[in-house]
Amino acid sequence: MNISQHFPILVIITLFTGAYLAPLAGLWKRKLCYPLAVLSALLSFLFSVVILLSVLEHGIIRYHVGGWEPPWGIELLVDPLSAFMALIVSFIGLLAVVYSKDYIAGEIPDKKLPAYYSLLQLIIGGMLGALMTGDLFNLFVMTEIFSISAYALVSIAQKKGSLIASYNYLILASVGTTFILFSTGFIYMVTGSLNMVDISQRLSALESPWVMYNGLILLVIGFAIKSALFPLHTWLPDAHSIAPSPVSVLLSALVIKVGAYSIIRSVFTVFGPGLLEQSGVVTIPVTWMASLGILLGSIYAITQTDIKRMLAYSSVAHIGYILLGIGLASTASMTGGIFHILNHALGKACLFFCAGAVLHKTGIRNVEEYTGLAGKMPITMIAFTLAAISLVGIPPTSGFMSKFYLAIGAYQESWIFLAVILLGSLLSAVFYFRVINLIYFGEPEHKSGVREQGAEIGGVVHRQPTTDNRREAPLTMLIPIIILALGSTLFGILVHIPLSVVEPAVKLLLGM
C-alpha cells in the first residue's frame, strides 16, 4: 500500500493537523502561524489536484478510514463531483489564507492570530471532509465542524454587529444541523445503515415512499439553510458582510456551495438515481424557491449601499442559479449548475477580495464612494470589473457559459425558468454596472462624501482614507485577486477544462 492511496484522507488531515498546530505554534511565536497555515493549505491543495487527476483517470476512489470496511467503518467516497469541489475549496481556501496576512493585521487583535489561523484551517478542512465523505453521519459531523468555525470567524473581528450576526447565523444554522441530524437518525432507524451507497440500496427495497420523503425533506431543508436557499437565507447578508473579507470569501464562495453539494449528494446519491422520480417532491419546491431567490436576491442587492452586503445578496441569487440547475435535474441544467459552482466561487471570491482590498487601503465600504477608484487601484478595479462581468453573465467570461447551459436546461422544463434566469442576469447587470460606472466614470463631485474621519461602519473605525494616488493593496492581497480574475475570464474561453470534470460528474449523478 503506497502513500498515494491515502491521499483522500491526507487532504483533510493536513488541515486538521495544521489547525491543532497553529495555537501551539502561536504559544511559541505568533509569526509562525501564518506560514504554517499557508503550508498546510498548499499541501491540501496539491493533494486535491492529484486526487482529481486520479479520479479522472481511474474512476471513483473509495477509501476506508482505518481499514474498517463499510457499512461499519467510515468510507471516503471521491467521485468526479467531490474531487472537483474539493479542488475549488482547497484552492480558494489557500488564496484566502494567503490573503489574510496583511488584511487581518489591521482587523483583529494580535493575540487572536493563532485562533484565527486555526479556525481558518478548520473551516477549510471541515468543508473538504464534508465533500469527500461517503458516510451520512460523518457528513453531519463535518458540517458541524465547518459551521462552528464559521460562527466563530464571523464574530472574530469584534465589531459592533458581528456578535448579533454570528448569533443569528448560529441559531439558524443550528436549526439546519438539527434537521440533518434528525434525518440521519431517521434514516438509520429505517435502513440500519449510515453509508450513503448502502442506504441507497436499502432504501430502494423499501415499500412506502413516505419513508423516503420524510428523510429526504428533512435532509434537504437542513442543507437548504446551510446553503442559504431563499427564504432561508436571512442569516447570510449580515454574516457575510460583517465577517473579515477572507472569511466572507470562504462563506460566500465556499460554505454555501458545500451546502448545495450536500443537497446534490442527498438527492442523487442517497436517494437517487433509481428513486429520482419520487424525489420530485423535493426538487420541485427547490427549483421554485431557487427561482424566487434569483429574483429577490438580485432585487435586494440593488437596494444595498454597502458593497459587501450587495455582494452577499448577490450570493443569495447565485446559489439560486446553482440549486435551480440541480433541482431541474436534466443533463444540461446539472452541467450548468455544477459549472456555476466554480464560476461563482471564482467571481464572488474575487469581488470580496477586491472589496476587502478597498476597505483595507481606503476604508471605503459605501458603493457611492467608489467614485474614481480606478485611478487609485487600477489592477484591483480591473479585476473587480472582470469578475462582475462574469457574474452578470456576459460572454466571453465563464459566467456566461454556465448560464447558457442552465438556460438550455431550464427551457427544457419550462419557459418560466428561462425567463427567471434571463431576468436575474438583467437585474444583476443593474447593480454591478452601477458600481463599474462609478469606478471608472464617477464624477468625484461629492468631495464631502468621502469620509474625513475614517469610515465608521459596523462599529469599527477604519484607517483614514489615503489621498495619494496609486495605492494598490500589498502583494499577498493582490495576487489572489489577479489569479481569480484571470480564472473567471479564462474559463469562459477554455470551457472544456472544467467541463471535462463536470460532465462525467453529471453523468454519474444522473446514473447514465
Binding site: A429, N437, F441, L499
Partner: protein, 589 residues
Amino acid sequence: MIEHVLPVPPAALFIVGALLIPLLKGQLRKIFLLFIPIVAFVNLLYLPQGTYWTYHFVGFDLIFGRVDSTSLPFGYIFVIMAFLGALYAIHVKESSEHIAAFILVGASLGAVFAGDYLSLYLFLAIMTVSSAFLVFSRRRKSATDAGFRYLIFHFFGGSLLLAGIILYYISTGNLYFGLLEGNELYLYLILIGFLVKAAVPPFHTWLTDAYPEGTATGSVFLSAFTTKTGVYLLVRAFPGTEILIWLGAIMAVYGVVYAVIENDGRKLLAYSIISQVGYMVAAAGLGTQMAINGAIAHALCHILYKALLFMGPGAVLQVTGREKLTELGGLFKAMPVTFWLFMVGGVSISGVPFFNGFVSKTMIIASAGLQGEAVVYVLLLLASVGTFLHTCLKLPYYMFFATDRGIKAEEPPRNMLMSMGLTAFLCLFIGIYPAILYNILPYPVDFVPYTTEKVVEKIALLSFTLLGFWLLKDKIAGQPTISLDTDWFYRKAGPAFMWFCRNPASVFASWKDLAYAKICFAFILLFRHNSPELLLTAEKRVIQSRERRQLASRQPAPLDSLTIGFSIFMFTFIVALFLLLLVFGKLVP
C-alpha cells in the same frame, strides 16, 4: 511575406489593438490609432470569401469568419469608419475612450462576420458594453443615466435574443446563424432582439437617449456601428419579412417628425438616424435583390454622411461647449470650414444628386415603387423631404446663422477638420462615381441613378422644401423642451422599479415586526403572565414597525434584516414542528 501573416480575424485586430492602447503614449499612440484601421483594411482585402475560422467549442461550432458579399461591404465601411473616427478623436488624451471605441469597432466586425449565434451573441454583448462606456465617458450625471438606460435596454434586447437562440438550439440542434423562416417562437424572439439593435420604434429610445450624451468624439463612433449591425442582421436573417416594410416606412417618417421639432443638435441627428435606418429596414423587408442592394448601399453611405453630420456639432461642442440649438447661432463667421463640410453631409443625407445619399436612397425608393408598394413609396419620399428640412436646413441655419449670440469660437483642431474633409470627400466621390459602391454589393446592379427623371424629381422636391423652410423658418425653431417619446415609459419605469425594490421590502419588514409584537402579546394573554420584558419587546417592535412605514413612505429605508432573520427563524421552527408531526404521524400506522 504579408500573405503568411494575413488574413487574421478583423475583430481580433481591433480588440487586441484596443488592449495595447494604454501601453502607448504621445505621438506613438496617435500613429498606432491610425495604423490599426489601415492594417485592418489591408487585411480585409486579403480576406477570401467563404466560411472559415471555425472552432469546435464544447459541442458548439463557432464560426468567426463567414465572409461573403453581404458581410464584406459592412466590413469595409466599418474599417473605413474606424479610421475616420480615430482621426477625428486623435487629440483625445484619455485612453479609456479610445479603448471603448476600438473594442466597439472590433465587436461590430466580429458580429458582422459571425456565422453562428453564440459568437454573434458574444460580439453583440461586447458592443453593448463598449458603447455604454463611450457614453459614460462624458462623465456627467445625465450621460451616466443615459448610458445606464442604454445598457439595460440592450441587455433586455440581448436577453430576448439569447432566449431565442436557446429555443432555436433546442428545436434545431445547431447554432448556425442564417436565413430564418417559419412561424416558430424563436423567430420572433430573435427578430425583436435584432429590432432593438436596429432601433426600430418602439425599441428606439435608447438611441435618441444615449447618442446625444456621448462625448463629441464618441458619438461619431456610436452613430456608425450599432444600428448598422442591426440592419446587417435583419438583412441576413429576415429578408422579405413583410412586417419590416411597414415598420421601416413608419420609422422613416417617425424619425423625421421628431427630428423637425428637436432642439438639441445631436439629438436631432439621432432621430434622423432612426429615419434613415427606416429606409434600410423597409428595404430589408422588401427583400428583392435590388432592395437588399439598396439596404446595404444605403447603410454604407449613411455611415459616412451621418458620421460627417455628427462631426459638425461635435466640433461645435468641442469649441463652444454648447449643444442646444437655442443656445447657438452665428457661428459661420468663426467656423466657415466646419460649416461647408457639415453641409456636404447635409446635402448627402437629403439625397441631392452627385452626393452619396442620392445613389443609395433612390435605389430603395425605386425598389419600393417596383414592388407596387405605393403607400411605402410615398412615405419614404415624404421622409426624404423632411430629412432635407431638418438636417440640411434647420440644423445648420440655427447653428451657424440665425441670431448671432456672440459666442467665441474658432475652427476645431486640425485633425477634426482633416477627418471631416476626408469623409466629405468620400461622400462626394461615391456620389459622382457610384460604380465603386455598386461593385461590392451582393447582387449585380442594373440600376442607373442618374436619369433625368429622377434628378429632376429630386431637385423639384427639394426646391419646394427650401422655399417652404424660408417662409416658415421662425415657426420650426427649436424649443428648449423635451419632446415626449416612448422613452417616457421607462424613464418613469426606472424610478418606479427602484421604488418597488425598496418599499415592499420595508413594508414586509414592518409586517414582520408587527407579527412579532402580536406573538409577544399573545404569549402575555395566553399565560396570564405580565412579563415586563415581553411587554417592552412587543412595544419596541410596534414602534419600529411604525417608523419603518414612515421611512418607506418618505425615502428608501435601509433594510435591517436582523429582525427578518428572527422571524424566519420562528417560521423555520414552526415548519420543523409541523414536519415532525408529519413524520411521526405517518410512521405510526
